[in-house]
Amino acid sequence: MRVRHVALLALLAAAPVYAHHNFRAEFDINAPFTVTGTVTKVEWTNPHTWFYLDVKDAQGVVANWAMEMGSPNALMRAGWKRTSMNAGDVVAVDGYKAWEKKNTGNARSVTLTKTGQKLFAASSAGK
C-alpha cells in the first residue's frame, strides 16, 4: 500500500499539475515527442485549450495532431491571449503522448518556428 502510494506520487509529481483531470490517466510521461507542423485550429476553451496541427511524416503523409494545454484562465494569467497562436502558424511542439488516442498529446512547450519565440511559456515561474 505504502510503496504503491509513493510510486504514484512520484509519477504525479512529475506531471503537469494545472490539469483539471489526472494527467497520468490520459498521458504517458514516459512517451515524450517532438513534432513540427502547421496550426489548423485553436480552441481557446475551458477546461483546456486545444490546438490542432498538420504534421507531415518522412513519407510525406500528413496527419492532424490534437494537442492539449492548460486552461485559458491559467494561460491568461501567464500573459497570453486567445490570439497568441493562430491557424497558419508553423510551430514545434514538445509534449507527452496520450496513452490510447493516436496523434494526441499534452503540449509541454510550443515554439513559433519563424521567430524561435516560445509560446505559452510561463512569464515568471512560480507566480
Partner: protein, 262 residues
C-alpha cells in the same frame, strides 16, 4: 525607435497581456514605494476589530515541489494527497479502502472533475484555482473560480440545519475565536474526492476549517476532516494560502469543451 514609441509599445504589450481584469491595480492593496504589493503588511481589520479576510486568494504552491506544465505552475502541497503527512497507514474504514483502491486501479479516471463536476471542499482549499472571499458583517461569501461556484458561510449566529439535503459544498456556519475564523460544515453528498488521488469521504463528513490571516498576503487554513464512517481517526492538515494582488476571478465553464482523452 524613439523613446516615446518604445514606452508606448511597452504599455501596449503590458495592456494586451492582461485578460479581463487581470493586472488591474486594486486600490485597497498596500504597496511598496516601487508600486509592488506589500504582502507582509498587517492584515486589515475594519470589521469590529476582527481581521477582514476579503480578497482574491489561492492555495500556496508547495515550496518543496517542482514546476510542471507549460505555464510552470507548482501545485499546492495537499492538492494530490491530503494524507501525505500521516505517520503509518491511512485510517480507512474497510469500504473506503476498497473504494480508494478501485479508483487507483482505474487510474483515477472517475475523478468527478473530469466530468466537470465540482471539486467541493476541502479539495478546493488545496486546489490550484483561485477564489475570492467577500466578508460582510453577518456573512462571508467565497466565490470559487472552479466551476464558477459560490459558497456562503453564515456568521450571524445560526446553527446548522437539521437533516439538510446533501449538497456539494455543504452548509457552513462560522464564528470568530480571536483572530481565527472557525467554519464548520456538514450536509455534504459523498460525490467529491478529498484530493487528486481520490481519497473518499462519506455524507457524514464534518469539516472544520480554521482561517487565520497571518498578514496582508498570507493566510492559513487548518483543515480537520472528521468522518468516522470513512476514517477511524480525524485527518488534519494546514494548507497555506497566498493573496493574489491585482488579480481577478475569470469565468470557468468547464463544460464548454471538456474532452477526456483516456
Amino acid at each position: 525607435m524613439t523613446r516615446a514609441f518604445g514606452a508606448a509599445l511597452t504599455l501596449l504589450i503590458a495592456g494586451t497581456a492582461s485578460g479581463q481584469w487581470l493586472g488591474y491595480p486594486a486600490k485597497n492593496i498596500p504597496r511598496n514605494p516601487d508600486g509592488t504589493p506589500n504582502l507582509s503588511a498587517p492584515a486589515p481589520r475594519p470589521t469590529a476589530g476582527r481581521p477582514d479576510l476579503s480578497g482574491v486568494w489561492q492555495p500556496a504552491a508547495d515550496p518543496g515541489d517542482a514546476a510542471g506544465g507549460i505555464e510552470g505552475i507548482v501545485a499546492p502541497k495537499y492538492q494530490i494527497n491530503v494524507m501525505r503527512d500521516l505517520q503509518g497507514a491511512v485510517p480507512f474504514q474497510p469500504w473506503a479502502q476498497k473504494l480508494f483502491d478501485q479508483r487507483q486501479a482505474n487510474k483515477m479516471r472517475d475523478n468527478p472533475m473530469i466530468q466537470c463536476l465540482p471539486a467541493g471542499v476541502p479539495r478546493l482549499d488545496a486546489y490550484i484555482h483561485p477564489y475570492k472571499i467577500v466578508q460582510a458583517p453577518d456573512l462571508i461569501v467565497i466565490l470559487y473560480e472552479s466551476e464558477t461556484m459560490f459558497r456562503q458561510i453564515f456568521t450571524d449566529g445560526r446553527s446548522h440545519p437539521t437533516d439538510p439535503e446533501p449538497s456539494w459544498l455543504g452548509y457552513s456556519v462560522g464564528k470568530w475565536q480571536g483572530d481565527t475564523l472557525v467554519v464548520e460544515t456538514i450536509g455534504f453528498n459523498d460525490k467529491t474526492w478529498l484530493d487528486g488521488l481520490g481519497h473518499p469521504h462519506s455524507d457524514a463528513m464534518k469539516l472544520t476549517e480554521r482561517f487565520r490571516r497571518r498578514d496582508f498576503g498570507h493566510m492559513d487554513i487548518e483543515i480537520t476532516i472528521d468522518d468516522p464512517k470513512a476514517y477511524t481517526k480525524p485527518i488534519r492538515y494546514v494548507q497555506p494560502q497566498i493573496l493574489q494582488p491585482d488579480n481577478e476571478l475569470i469565468e470557468y465553464v468547464c463544460n464548454e469543451n471538456a474532452k477526456p482523452v483516456g
